[in-house]
């Protein structure tokens, strides 16, 4: 085992030594590591003193954990430079070929570089946080709970792995340091958004949710590492000299995958069934299994939590419609209840799932899908609490259009999830671009061939059929829908 790991450490050690001999990296890193905690501590102290005068307890309580999050993040941005040039920089300097010519295996080379990218920012962040905590303990500031500190440390580690692994992937895919640096914003911007969400949760103070966030960040980091490992190829680093975006080739490849050479609509649909849908079997099964669990969990959770939180519900159908309109920002909810609006709304949801899914290996897309499933659980469970039979309500209120709508959402989400699965699956004979184009073409085939027609049918049924059936069995529904 050690024999296999030793080369990794050799690569990392050389990289680390190189970084520590470069004052352009070492200087800012030392300043941020050793100086920034003092600055942050002084700011926190001033803010706490000021806010205490006006009784802003929440801000006072949350300021220190928030500062830890920020202090941990700053050194990562500097270290990103090292990771971004880990491969492409060596390529530019001409040092990569002797390294690639050594008998190391691909995963050893990749892991060695990754480790060298992760260690400095993590050590730097942890040192900064430790200094800050020592300063906090010596002042009149509340020390966060141990579990919260642990969560923040895990989050910092997750951010480091996430950013560095993504940077190493960019470094492999780029043909110049300049191009890799330009791509850095695709790492920094999403991570800052992620941190904004984390900060919001931090102020919300829900320990359990924070653990889920930690888990999600760790999963995403692991997927990025997997992506890098799956697609690291010596050949890719040496086989390309220019960053050429061949749009004609992209369009040709997309078209070839989209049409599958079909000459008629019938042949195209046959191909959709024979080729594309078979690829979606596994992600669809995963989604169905988790959907069942999500439904059961949301149903049970609503049954046990909702009675305590309901104080006053809508008194009539008109009240309900008005409150729905105010929540959704519609002037009149009834006006929006037409087939085109519902169709466009569902199509928009499908596109949002795709957009978020493409950047997160399908995870965020799948999460939105599960949120929709959990809403069904919540609604049916809540209806049960109001005295309606959930099963009956499902069959008369959801099933008529859901039989089209749910498979449409399931298929489009499965296609998005497959994009992520395809990306993290080793396919050394193809580039990431080729894999992405094929997976996107599959998604587009499913969207055009199945999802759009199914959503259109579902919208028509939802407007013209479901209300009639619902009215016959559930009296309040008539009042809402009138």
């Amino acid at each position: 085992m050690w024999e296999k790991l030793q080369p990794i450490w050799l690569i990392s050690r050389r990289e680390l030594r190189d970084q520590l001999r470069d004052w352009r990296i070492l200087g800012p890193l030392l300043v941020l590591t050793l100086g920034f905690p003092f600055v942050m501590n002084a700011i926190a102290y001033q803010v706490v003193t000021f806010v205490n005068k006006y009784g802003g307890d929440l801000i006072v309580d949350r300021l220190v954990p928030f500062s830890i999050l920020i202090i941990g993040f700053f050194p990562l941005t500097i270290s990103l430079l090292g990771a971004l040039e880990s491969f492409v920089g060596e390529k530019e300097r001409g040092t990569i070929e002797p390294l690639l010519g050594s008998p190391l295996e691909d995963w050893q080379l990749y892991t060695g570089k990754l480790l060298a990218g992760i260690l400095p920012p993590v050590l730097s962040s942890l040192t900064s946080i430790a200094i800050f905590l020592v300063l906090v303990s010596k002042q009149n500031l509340n020390m966060p709970a141990f579990s919260l500190i642990l969560q923040l440390l895990f989050l910092t580690l997750g951010h480091a792995v996430l950013m560095v692994s993504a940077a190493v992937v960019f470094s492999i895919q780029s043909t110049s340091v300049k191009a890799a640096n330009l791509l850095a914003s695709f790492i920094v911007v999403p991570v800052t958004f992620l941190m904004q969400a984390e900060s919001w949760l931090l102020f919300w103070d829900d320990v359990n949710i924070m653990w889920y966030v930690v888990l999600a960040v760790m999963m995403l980091s692991a997927l990025f590492v997997r992506l890098g490992l799956a697609h690291f190829q010596r050949e890719y680093l040496l086989g390309r000299e220019l960053d050429g975006l061949n749009l004609r080739w992209v369009l040709r490849a997309f078209r070839a995958h989209f049409t599958q050479g079909a000459q008629s609509a019938r042949a195209w649909y046959a191909g959709l069934y024979r080729v594309t849908l078979k690829k979606l079997a596994m992600p669809a099964l995963i989604l169905i299994a988790i959907s069942i669990l999500t439904y059961v969990f949301s149903f049970q959770w609503t049954s046990s939590h909702l009675p305590a939180t309901i104080t006053q519900g809508p008194q009539s159908g008109v009240d309900f419609r008005e409150s729905l309109g105010s929540v959704l920002g519609w002037e009149d909810a009834a006006l929006q209840f037409n087939a085109p609006t519902i169709f466009l709304h569902n199509l928009r949801a499908t596109l949002v799932i795709a957009m978020l899914g493409v950047f997160t290996f399908g995870i965020l897309g799948a999460l939105i899908f599960f949120v929709n499933i959990s809403l069904i659980g919540v609604v049916l469970s809540a209806a049960g609490l109001f005295g309606y039979e959930p099963t009956l309500l499902f069959f008369v209120g959801i099933f008529p259009h859901g039989i089209f709508e749910l498979p449409a959402l399931l298929l489009s989400t499965a296609a998005v999830l497959r994009i992520g699965l395809a990306l993290v699956t080793p396919q050394t004979e193809r580039t990431i671009g080729e894999i992405l184009i094929e997976a996107l073409a599959d998604w587009a085939r499913v969207l055009v061939g199945l999802v759009i027609p199914l959503l259109a049918v579902a919208a028509v049924i939802e407007v013209y059929v479901t209300p009639i059936i619902l009215c016959r069995f559930v009296s309040i529904a008539c009042a809402i829908l009138q």
Binding site: R14, R17, D18, T95
Partner: protein, 313 residues
């Protein structure tokens, strides 16, 4: 030993190497000659298992480049076109790093590193950062690195490119000295004098294809025709010479005669006897020196003309 058969590499629509078949025996040095972009570096990269062939096969030191990449890389010492040296390391650190990558024992690393540094005359500068080295020193260090694991196969891509003549000669001498061992070597170079001095076998590559291969003499004969000889006279001699079969008269002046001889061993004594019998006072008869460069340039001109004709057709 290196063997390739119909080795080819295609990048999308571009064919970089198109069916290269070569055999280089242990102890031999093969010089791979060709224009920029002819496919030399791509061939070397395939032989180092850095690029995967899209057709054909290659075996290096008995290992298949497609399926036994790690073994191939362990058997090969590569000197790349760019020296590829980490400038913040000292020469000692650099050689130690690569020694460890090639899984040499610590004791072996120290012994080999010191030996290589001494061999290449770098001992005094061994603890200095490589960034301070001259280009020649860097190239020598790169060669030392390529030899650290005592590889049975050496692949040298432009070993003396962009070097001053003195450094180039030093490196060339050192490559020549490596020939004594039973090592298989391929040198890619534009320097034809270097190739002529070092190589046992020469192969000329053009647009990814081997145009011609063989010893330097064979190459000259194939390209420029049979050997040429010049006969210089002590006094003007104006008679028409009688030449044996297989000898062609190329040039004739009262002072000298230039002939092309198919079989010098048989024909040259006859020529001399004939001229002497007819009263020609000869000062000397010597082979006209023909350089590899002449042969190469002729080959390239012919190849380009053929390519143009083909393109027009």
């Amino acid at each position: 030993m290196i063997e390739t058969s119909e080795l080819g590499k295609q990048f999308n629509d571009f064919v970089a190497v198109d069916g290269v078949s070569l055999t280089v025996q242990p102890g031999q040095i093969l010089a791979l000659l060709g224009q920029n972009g002819a496919g030399k570096t791509t061939t070397v990269r395939m032989l180092t298992a850095l690029l995967q062939p899209t057709r054909g096969w290659a075996r290096v030191n008995g290992y298949d480049v497609l399926t036994q990449g790690a073994q191939v890389r362990a058997s090969v010492g590569v000197l790349t076109e760019q020296h590829g040296i980490y400038t913040r390391m000292s020469a000692m650190e650099y050689l130690d790093f690569f020694g460890a990558l090639y899984k040499l024992s610590p004791a072996n690393i120290i012994a080999t590193r010191n030996r290589q540094l001494e061999y290449f005359g770098l001992t005094e500068a061994a603890s200095r950062r490589v960034g301070e080295y001259s280009k020649g020193m860097k190239q020598k260090l790169a060669l030392a690195r390529a030899l650290m694991h005592n590889p049975p196969v050496l692949l040298l891509d432009e070993p003396t490119s962009a070097m001053d003549p003195e450094s180039a000669r030093l490196v060339r001498d050192q490559i020549a000295s490596l020939k004594s061992s039973q090592r298989t070597t391929i040198i890619c170079t534009h320097n034809l004098a270097e190739a002529e001095a070092l190589a046992d076998v020469v192969a000329v590559i053009y647009r990814g294809r081997i145009l011609v291969s063989g010893s330097v003499e064979e190459l000259k004969r194939q390209t420029l025709g049979p050997s040429e000889y010049e006969i210089h006279f002590a006094q003007a001699w104006n008679e028409a010479p009688e030449l044996p079969v297989g000898v062609t008269l190329l040039e004739r002046t009262p002072e000298y005669l230039r002939v092309q001889v198919q079989n010098p061993r048989e024909s040259n004594p006859l020529i001399l006897r004939n001229l002497s019998a007819r009263g020609a006072a000869m000062i000397s008869m010597q082979e006209t020196p023909r350089s590899l460069e002449q042969a190469y340039l002729k080959l390239m001109t012919d190849a380009q003309a053929a390519h143009l004709l083909k393109a027009q057709a």
